[in-house]
Structure formats: C-alpha cells, structure tokens
Symmetry: C2
Subunit: 146 residues, 2 copies
DNA sequence: TATTGTTATACTCTATAACTATA
DNA sequence: TATAGTTATAGAGTATAACAATA
C-alpha cells in the first residue's frame, strides 16, 4: 500500500467522525448564544424562516428543517409566548395555520442575526476566509448530493 | 453591500447548520451499518482504539472520545458480552482495568473496517476524491483549532 | 375517510451522583 | 481521603400514536 493510499484509507475511516465532532461543538456554542435570547436553535431557525417568508403553514416550515410536526408546534408555542410569531387560521382552509412574524420579531431580528453571525465567526475562526468558503461549498454539495 | 459580502454573510449564517445536517445524516447511515454487526458507533470507536492500542485504562479511552466514564463502562460491557474485548485488572494498581481486544475482535476487524469504509465512501460519494481530501483537511483544522 | 395540527404516552439518552473497591 | 470504575436515579429529548377539528 502506498503512502497516499494509507492516507486515503485513514481519512475515509474518520471524516464522518470529524463532521460529528465539529457539529457537536457548533451546537454547543450556538445553543448557548441563542439561549441568551431565550431561543433554541430550532426556534431561531423557524423564526428566521417566518421573517423571510411569512404565511407558510406549519407543515411547510417543518419540511424545510426535516422537523416533525409536534416540534414545530412546540417551537411556535414558545415563539408565540415570547410575542415573536403568531398563528393565523387560513379562512379558506380552516385546518391550516399560517405563521407570521410580529413587529417585535422584526425589531429583534438584527440583534439575533448579529449574535448568530458573531458565533459563527468564532466557531469558524480557525479557518481563513477562503477556507470557510471552500468548506461551505463542499458541505453544500455533500448535503445536497447525498 | 457588495455581492461577495452578501454571499459571505449568508454563508456565515448557515455553515454551522450545514455541518449539523451532514453530521446527522452521517450518524444515521453509520449507525445503521454498524448495527448489522451489533455495535453502536461508540462501541466501534472504542473497539478500534483497543485493537490499535491495547492495555489502556478506561479513563484513557474515555478521554479520547470525550465520553463520560459510565458510557465507556457500558460500551465495554457490551463488547465483553460479544466476546470482543476483555478487562484485565492491573496487578500493581488494582483499581484500574486495562482493556484488551480478543482474538475474535482481531478476526472481525477487517470486516468491520470494510463496512465502515464502504459506508463512509457512500456518505462522501457526492464529492470527488480531491474534494474529500480538502474536506477532511478543513475539518481537521477546524476541530483542532477551536 | 383523509388531512392539519395538538396533546399524551412511552421510550431512549444523558447527566448526576451515590456506591464499591482499592489506594 | 482520594481515585477507578460501576450502578442507580432523575431529567431531557424523542418517537409514536391517539386525538380534535376541518375537509
């Protein structure tokens, strides 16, 4: 076995575990950062989605994050309690609830985005700007393709 | 804001989530593959470690994977039941147990590694060989540096 | 009868700490 | 008293499915 082959085999056996370690670390710091705003990562993701595209149904939002319906329910309960989102029954199809962000959510958005951006920057700090771009591109292809 | 700036900011806001998605997907396929051999991911990792470096204490093994002592205990219970690892009391320091792989484990190792290698290859299939190397290098630096 | 969303239940994971044996 | 490892217990997180309302 050549050296490069050995390198390749070793790598194949551990890249997945590296992804996991990176993910766990990211989750820890991002959860902590968002907790200061009283949000979980899912709640933040849902809120951003709602700010960007209001009027979606809960099923539609859940599909984006591959989250089960009850998690979206719970996340929205929390966001609603915090005055950040509201559910409005669709008058034509009264089974669905269409979700909208409140003015309070729009006021909070910049601060949230700043927090997330700063946390992300910290988490990715070991890499140069060019490398961050590479990593993002590689992960995008990996996730999209699998 | 320039286009590249917009790209950068969007990216910063989502690379971490991409890592998480990739990690979750990897965990799902790898867990399923190892389950066919009756192993969890931690059990497999511990077993590989023990095959490579026998005679370590449980605390030492736990440190490698940032796993709490009781998880190593449980993993070793399972490996021992399967006849793959054994605990031997250190005669000079009878509090510690030094872990060794059995002959059965050594016989099983090639098949396990083949499974993991194949699963990894499948999981990373959307990327070219060169890209896989890049991803591995980037993640290594990311995990080591943070 | 099927679908949207909610609630309840049971199950798995994890963390914490109590515990045993040894030093 | 401190350490290596184990076991027990409680809490969080998750999945499953029962449920209500609407179609």
């Amino acid at each position: 076995m050549t050296l490069s082959e050995t390198t390749r085999r070793t790598r194949e056996g551990s890249t997945g575990w590296l992804i996991q370690r990176a993910a766990r670390r990211f989750e820890a710091v991002m959860s902590a950062a968002l907790a200061e705003h009283g949000l979980t990562m899912l709640e933040f993701a849902v809120l951003m989605r709602v700010l960007e595209t209001g009027g979606q149904t809960q099923a539609e939002i859940g599909a984006v994050y591959a989250a089960p319906a009850w998690k979206i329910s719970r996340a929205l309960d929390s966001l609603q309690r915090a005055g950040l989102a509201e559910r409005r029954r669709d008058p034509l199809e009264r089974r669905v609830q269409r979700i909208h962000a409140t003015a309070q959510a729009q006021a909070l958005a910049p601060a949230l985005q700043a927090t997330v951006s700063a946390t992300n920057a910290t988490a990715l700090a070991p890499l140069t700007e060019a490398e961050r771009g590479q990593l993002h591109a590689l992960l995008t292809r990996l996730v999209a393709g699998g």
